[in-house]
């Protein structure tokens, strides 16, 4: 079934992705909507609820010259109201991501949040020689960055700026890069919330880019995505990432992405209580 979806998507990917971007932009502009910041390809400055545990499994089908598929599993921990820790594995290596929210201003249906993050990707895979710093687990990379998120009822935008560096590199290929993203999201269904059991449908449009610092080159991808939220706890994400600007070499410049997340509220405090008993 997944193969069939991938085949249909890849046969018509350019038309579908451009059409989807157009649809999102039209909805952003003209329809009365509510903002969403549960982005598919990036993280907002908001951290996970304290003491919660999330599990995420994703599947990425890479297009272009490589026909590789990536599967990835991640555990997400809300260590406190300001600190989140993500631990992931793609079966060829592991990664860790920690985020600290240092600024919060909340108002009715609005907030402004700022956060720092640090991440480390460690892999046992054979080195791949590309100019771009690969962040999907193909090579060992460390990075730090800053995220600013603004939510205001009908508009949620997030900007992230970061620095990433490969652990192993050669002079012919890039060593480090400036990483950035600009993400926007909105709720299209339901028009009015009545219960936690309602299925939500959200649309996202993200721009994801990288500018090489040691060596010339850069890329900028557009990543439209659709998200369904079930029972206010489970998220099903479907997105497609494709290059708007490609001036570097990397594994692929387009990929189909599917992921499923589930969030267990108060799971860490329940684990603590069980230990005490």
């Amino acid at each position: 079934m997944l193969d069939l979806v991938c085949k249909v998507w890849y046969m018509n990917r350019r038309c579908l992705s451009i059409g989807f971007c157009g649809l999102i932009i039209a909805i952003f502009g003209f329809l009365p909507t509510v903002a969403q910041e549960l982005y598919v390809f990036s993280d907002p400055a908001s951290t996970k609820p304290a003491r919660s545990i999330g599990i995420k499994h994703s599947f990425q089908k890479m297009g272009g010259n490589t026909n590789r598929n990536n599967q990835y599993t991640q555990m997400q921990f809300g260590l406190s109201k300001k600190v989140s820790l993500y631990l992931g594995t793609n079966y060829g290596g592991n990664d860790a991501y920690v985020q600290y929210r240092f600024f919060t201003k909340d108002a009715m249906y609005a907030h402004t949040r700022l956060a720092f993050y640090a991440k480390s990707i460690q892999t046992n895979r054979q080195a791949i020689h590309t100019s771009a710093v690969l962040l999907d687990g193909e090579e060992s990379v460390n990075g730090v960055g800053f995220i600013a998120t603004q939510l205001k009822h009908k508009w949620a935008s997030s900007l992230s700026l970061g620095y990433v560096q490969k652990e192993k590199w050669s002079q012919h290929y890039g060593r480090d890069a400036f990483q950035y993203s600009f993400s926007n999201g909105l709720l299209v269904y339901p028009k009015r919330y009545s219960s936690y059991g309602q299925t939500n449908v959200n649309l996202y449009l993200e721009l994801l880019g990288q500018k090489l610092l040691s060596g010339r080159g850069q890329y900028l991808d557009a990543a439209p995505a659709i998200q369904m939220i079930f029972n206010s706890q489970a998220k099903l994400n479907l997105g497609y990432r494709f290059a708007l600007l490609e001036k570097t070499n990397r594994m692929t410049n387009n990929s189909l992405y599917i992921s499923l997340d589930y969030l267990f509220f108060n799971a860490l405090s329940m684990l603590k209580q069980r230990k005490k008993l």
């Binding site: 951290t47 109201k81 909340d106």
Partner: protein, 117 residues
């Protein structure tokens, strides 16, 4: 490329600065409200709380679950659309408003208003 990044940064800066004043006012008034109520906490039978900083049902459920977990809370009724929560309490337990506020901030959001009966 540079123009796109500068444009995105510029938009964020404008939106953030436009909202900063209103947000600060609301947050401070909530702090005062809760402090003045703490002394009368042992007579509280019902609390109506409005949370700030959220628009999604997943965020609302995080607050709902965080409030429901409090030992002295008997029942929480949520109005997702208005970010409003009505809390009733177990008859013999003492209500702690500071813990109620902490439950909301732990979920990642703020308290816009808190009224008790």
């Amino acid at each position: 490329m540079k123009k796109i990044i500068l444009f995105a940064g510029f938009i964020m800066a404008i939106v953030c600065s436009a909202n900063a004043k209103n947000i600060t006012k609301t947050f401070h008034s909530t702090e005062v409200n809760i402090k003045s109520n703490i002394e009368k906490a042992d007579k509280i039978k019902k609390v109506t709380l409005v949370a700030s900083g959220l628009t999604c049902s997943m965020c609302s459920k995080a607050i709902f679950k965080s409030l429901s977990k409090l030992e002295f809370v008997d029942q929480v009724k949520a109005d997702i659309e208005k970010s409003k929560y009505i809390l009733s309490f177990k008859p013999t337990s003492k209500v702690d408003l500071a813990q109620i506020k902490k439950a909301v901030t732990d979920a990642g959001f703020g308290v816009q208003s808190l009224v008790y009966e």
